[in-house]
Each structure stands twice: as structure tokens, then as C-alpha cells.
């Protein structure tokens, strides 16, 4: 083997290992990067039925996290494909089989959860579309506020006085109030306006 060939092989190896290093997701940086959104999703999508401590005590491989998310979707958890992908990456980076028994609470590392990246804020108010709001309500709000917004674990929203107070309504959805969690990492301004518009028709 001549010298130039050796160099080519060496460069090849170097590039290969660089690519491998780049594609290997380091669990800690992945969990720190996805944490803010992942936490918001856990509260909005999972904690409807069970507290988050059931999740944080697991130490599972990616395959088993995938199977778990699939099972929960099958049972009616309102998780979109994109959200499922993020949750699987986050959970398998943070709660993997070799993670320590006591994973430190995330809030110490990141401070606050990240709101959903909103569409560029228009100067004029967002116009709600009732027909779209019905679907948004069904996927996000119905588990607690009941079918047709007639109430359930959460208060009845049909004909609820809060519908007349646009700002209070929006802020309650975004930041939560009392037992209601914050939805800022899941619902967009448009989603909130659409739900509001639909609720006014109830």
C-alpha cells in the first residue's frame, strides 16, 4: 500500500468518525435541548390521565418508550406524530436504562419551559375560525371540559362568562389557572382564537 493510499484511508476514517460523532446524539444535550418542549407536552398530553411521576420513575430503552407512546396514542392520548417523535427522543435521552435513579429535576437546569414557537405576530388581532376550533377543542380540551364543552373534570365552557373576556380567556389557556395547566407549549395563538370562536357558538 503506497503512502497516498494510506492518507486517503486515514482521511476517510477521520471523516467517518466525525460523521459518527455528529450523528450520535449525546443524551444530556438532547434532554436539555428538548426539555422545555418535552415537559410542556408531558403536562398537556400525559398528565390528563396520570401524574408525571409515573413517567419520571421509568428507565426504558428507546424501543420500549416507542411502544409506550404507541400504546398511549392507541388509548386516546392526543399526541401528534411530531409530538410523539419529540417525546420519544426526549424520554429516551433522559430516562434511559443507564440513567441514575434520581434524575435531577429539569427546572434546575433550564428555568422555564419554552412556549410553542408562534407564527410571526401579526399587528392586528388573530381572527378565530369556529369550524377549526371544534377540532382543536376535541383534541386538547375535551378530556377535561367534556364533550360539547358541557363540563367534566374541568368547568363547563359553553355559555361560560369567561368567553366574554377575551384577554382573560387567552391568558388562562396560555399560562394556566388553578388546576388547569399552561398550554403555551402546545397551542398557537390561532388555535386559541379558533377554540374561543367555536365556544361562542355553543
Amino acid at each position: 500500500m503506497n503512502r497516498s493510499r494510506v492518507i486517503v484511508v486515514q482521511i476517510g476514517l477521520l471523516v467517518f468518525s466525525a460523521v459518527m460523532a455528529f450523528s450520535q446524539e449525546d443524551p444530556e444535550s438532547v434532554s436539555a435541548m428538548l426539555g422545555p418542549r418535552g415537559e410542556g407536552l408531558i403536562i398537556a398530553r400525559c398528565a390528563v390521565c396520570h401524574s408525571a411521576d409515573l413517567i419520571t420513575q421509568q428507565r426504558l430503552s428507546r424501543t420500549r418508550w416507542e411502544a409506550t407512546i404507541e400504546k398511549m396514542k392507541h388509548w386516546g392520548a392526543e399526541i401528534s406524530d411530531q409530538e410523539a417523535d419529540l417525546l420519544i427522543r426526549y424520554l429516551s435521552a433522559r430516562y434511559h436504562p443507564n440513567a441514575p435513579a434520581n434524575v435531577p429535576p429539569l427546572s434546575h437546569e433550564i428555568g422555564k419551559s419554552e412556549p410553542l414557537k408562534q407564527e410571526p405576530q401579526a399587528q392586528r388581532p388573530v381572527i378565530g375560525v369556529a369550524a377549526r376550533g371544534a377540532g382543536v377543542f376535541e383534541h386538547n380540551c375535551q378530556a377535561c371540559h367534556g364533550g360539547g364543552a358541557m363540563g367534566g373534570m374541568g368547568p363547563r365552557l359553553a355559555k361560560n362568562p369567561i368567553l366574554k373576556l377575551d384577554v382573560l380567556f387567552r391568558e388562562t389557556v396560555l399560562y394556566g389557572r388553578g388546576p388547569m395547566p399552561a398550554w403555551s407549549s402546545v397551542l398557537s395563538e390561532q388555535d386559541i382564537a379558533d377554540v374561543h370562536e367555536w365556544l361562542l357558538t355553543r
Binding site: 403536562i43 408525571a52 419520571t56 420500549r64 429535576p105
Partner: protein, 400 residues
Amino acid sequence: MKGSGELAKFSRRRWLKTLLGFGAGLAMHPAKFLAWAADMTPARDESTLTVRVSRPFDAETPVRAFTSFLTPNDHFFVRSHFGPPSAETIGESQWTLHVGGAVERSNEFTMESLKQFEPVTITAVLQCSGNGRAYHRPKAPGVQWERGAVGNAQWTGVRLRDVLQAAGVRAEARHVMFQGADRPVVATVPLFVRSIPLEKALHPDTLLAYEMNGRPLPLLHGAPLRVITPGWMAESCIKWLTHIEVREDEASGYFMQTAYRVPVKSEQKDTGRTDNATAPVEVMPVKSLISSPEDGQAVMAGGVRIKGVAWAGETRIAKVEISIDEGNTWQTAQLVGDDRLYAWRQWQFLWQATVQGTFAIVCRATDERGHVQPAATSWNPSGFLWNGWDRVTVRVHPHE
């Protein structure tokens, strides 16, 4: 519910606390809520129970409570899939028990009419199939129970056999299905429905229990009525019972056909699913626990009294052994106290701790059919039926 006194007080305090915790949790910022959730895992209740899941409420008994033969109701482990049902469905004036399916006459009982059958009291161990799941490797998904999702109580009720015979079991009947009044938050989640083979249902020791340790069944333990299948794992012991259906086949649905099953052959895979044939979890395998000294405890050199309990499903305990050298040599413990089928057997051993240092005390039990508690239980995808040797580590200090 007439369950006044300390039991009801316990339930109210516990529920108030759980509900308050939940409400406060949701009002928090998500990150703070998760931090709070992480703090709760595995949080220690100040006196009675170790909380594993705050909603629906799952909690286990600290093993030091197992120095008593009967586990008090307010120390007894709690497990359900959906939490207790609303008061409207199980209140004394609304609750009924419906018996139907492959029977000659469908029946509807009130608590008063049910109590016309002969009352029976049985002392039996109740244990979650997932007890000890935290010790399986690789880790299995589910509540990470350690040693205390088990207890021994006195159950009073009527024989399921008497209730079924009053309805007239038809010739084609093979299984008996149970359903409780508890419901999932989201209607798309399958109901917790289970069945047991007719043979177990007609066994004179299988009960529909309305009392626990001489008190009305507490809400968290299935008020007003639950099934007790002595010697079998607790998922057959349906709480808040409202419906019994006699059937030709096993109950359908997730909790009978997918969950609470183990591979017929053992396997070592981490795939989350199994291709092998599975069977429902039924009889409890032989198992023992050390209740004293506690793990990590410091003891004085000299005679150290080691205490614990052992149980073995539908048979009795023949022997409990102790090892101080990781199972190389074993010494036989003394079986003490009540000896009843289905209950656990207490045992004790006087260890002459002459050398100071740190020691692991290990115990294993053998049942009357010759089954010996293994060092570690063979792995299964759901982490069920853990019955590996129990172990506590103690530090022996020299005498003053």
C-alpha cells in the same frame, strides 16, 4: 359509607392531600410541576405509605410494618388503574351487584340482600403482580414497586360460590368475569375487566369481601365490595365490584388478553412485546421478606433478631433460610405465629453478629411443594412475579 373512624379519616386526609397536590401541581409552571413530581419519586409518606404514583394513587407499605401479622388498613398498599369511582356509583343507596351471563337466573343484589349468604372470614396475602418490578433487569415499564406492594389482611364476605349457585351456573360456563365501578379519565381507555376460571370462582375460599381487618372495606381498597381470590395475585381481586358475568371464554380486552400475562417460556428480550405464548398471571410464587432489621440499619454486635414473613400462594411455607454470605451457606429460621393457608407465615432468626462491619442478610423460603425462592426471578416483559431472595444490609457496631 359508614367507614367512620380512623380508616375513613385516613382516606379523607389522603385524598385531600392527593387532590391538593394535584391541583397545586397543575397550577405550577410545567418545569416546577415535573420537579415536584420528581421529588415525589420515591417520596416517603411521613408515617404510613411510600407514594409511587400520586394520581391515580399508588403507594406501597414500608417493610418495617410487616413485623405485625395483619397489615393495618391504613398501612396497606394501594393500587388501581383509574382511582376510586365517584360516590354516586358506590354509595349505599345506589350500589348494586349484577350477576348475569351463562346463568339460569340473572340476579341483582343490594348489600343487604348479599349479606343473607353465610359470612366467611379468611386471612390472606394480597400482592400486586408488579411487586418487586424495580429489581428486574432490564427494567420493565410500569410502577416501580420495590418490596411493599403486598400485605396480609383478614377478609370477611360471602362465598362467590354461593352467589353463583343462587343464580344457577349453566353447563357451558368456564370463566367468571368481574367489573368494578372505576372509570378511566378518557373514555377510549379500556375498562379494567378481568376473569378467573370457573374452578377458582367456585372454590369455597374465593370471597366477595365487604370487610377488611374487621372494618368496612375502605374506599381505596374497593368499598363496598371486592373480590378476594386467596393465593392469587391481586389483579383478580377486582375492587368496587358491580358486575359479575359468567362466560364460556376468558374476558376480552386489554387487561385480560394483553396485560397481566407472562410468557409460558422465560425469555431475555427487551422488545416490549413477546412472540411466545402467554398465560394470565394467577398463583403467587413462594416469597419471603425481611421486615427487621431495616435496610441500612446499624445494629449492636451480639445476638441480632432477624424477623420477616413468607408466603406461598395456594400452599404453605415449609422452610425459611438465612444467609450472611450471599447464599454460600444457609441456616434455617424458626417459623412462628399463626399457620394458615393463604396467610403469610412469620419467622425469626437469632444471628450471632460477632464481627463488626457491613453485612448483607439474605433470606429465601421453600414451600410445601418444594418450590424454592430463587436468587433472581426470570425476566418477563412486564416485570411481574418478582420473588428473588430478599436482602438487607446492616452495619454491625461493637458493644460499648
